[in-house]
Amino acid sequence: MPGRLLFVITLLIFTGILAGCSSGSCDEPTESMVNMTFRLTDAETNSSIDSITVFGIGMEEELIYDTVKTKQISLPLYPDANSLQFVIRRGYRDDTLTIEYESEIRFISKECGYAFFYQVINIYNSHNWINNTIIINPDISPGDEENIRTFF
């Protein structure tokens, strides 16, 4: 009986060990981006917006979005800055969006390494086609949860 009992116990431990083995690759999202949605000023729900082009000021040659129709865009932040500006172009009209933020580093996992998380402190925008932008959730983390909402 002790031999059988020990065999069962050892088998359980080995099973647990195999179940706990690491996959060896990073399976989690690691980049935190500001998720921005759009809404008509008097509407109650978010809407798609046509022909959106987005790029960072100072990065005009590299477009984040190029003439897309979308309900949500994601804006990347830089860990070594606390304020960034983006051009949000709709058709032929440009508005500038300024995001002020704080960054925090976190360790994700051995396979993924470190990632930066952010806290949006303030946002400003010009008013060529954008009426107003508000903060919905200031905690910027990997994922597609809505962070700021633009009314137009």
């Binding site: 002790p2 431990i13 690491s22 990347p76 860990p79 360790f107 996992s109 051995k110 990632a115």
Partner: protein, 220 residues
């Protein structure tokens, strides 16, 4: 790595075979065991990124229960495309083993059973380089060396066999669960001395020991 696996498998077979060939025995208290864990230095010979040096001290309370203390030191280094990491320090695990063998005939020192330990690890960790790259470019940073303490529990199952008079060899399979670490979410350790690599859930491990028994009373 293949030769190491063959060596450990052979030790596993030898230790399991040895105790299974003798009758279960009466095991009395008052015996101290002193030993070392041998897989750590062997693994270091083929993989110098982790060095684990571990001792083993036991006191046999009676035929069933043992008090166990396992002190040690460990160092660890890891490097991949987006960060380098190192940690090193001291640890101690203390707890009890329970022998599942039922004593029958004559004094003997075989063991087949389960164990539970509480672990404490005191170590430094450092990230001398890391990088983050996105649309805006690459940002290189580092995290300075910091002292960390960590607490964990361990359960184990294993076998020890007496191959010569008062000399035992044995192996155990172990699973460890981290209870607390003082570095916080931002700087979670990659490796905790005495526990191993961190992550979600139970962390598995194997140990192989050579132990010298010292009877404190005559006739044991």
């Amino acid at each position: 790595m293949k030769r190491i696996s063959v060596l450990f498998f052979s030790l596993f077979i030898l230790s399991s075979y040895s105790w299974s060939q003798e009758a279960d025995s009466i095991v009395a208290g008052g015996v101290v065991g002193i030993g070392i864990e041998i897989s750590g230095p062997i693994i270091y010979a083929s993989d110098s990124s982790v060095l684990n040096l571990e001792g083993y001290i036991s006191y046999r309370l009676n035929q069933k229960y043992y008090v166990i203390v396992e002190p040690g030191i460990a160092t660890y280094s890891y490097s991949q495309y987006n960060y380098d990491y190192s940690s090193g320090g001291f640890f101690i695990r203390a707890g009890f083993d329970m022998n599942l063998l039922k004593p029958k005939v004559k004094p003997g020192n075989h063991f087949a059973g389960l164990g539970v330990r509480y672990g404490l690890s005191l170590f430094n960790q450092e990230t001398p380089w890391a990088t983050s790259t996105n649309y805006w470019g690459s940002y290189d940073f580092s995290i300075e060396k910091r002292f960390v303490h960590a607490h964990f529990i361990e359960i184990s199952g294993g076998v020890k066999a007496e191959i010569f008079r008062n000399i035992l060899i044995g192996w155990s399979a172990r699973a460890r669960l981290l209870l607390y670490q003082s570095a916080g979410k931002a700087n979670k350790p990659v490796y905790i001395p005495g526990m191993g690599e961190t992550g979600r859930g139970l962390k598995p491990s194997f140990s192989y020991h050579i132990i010298w028994l010292i009877p404190l009373k005559k006739g044991l």
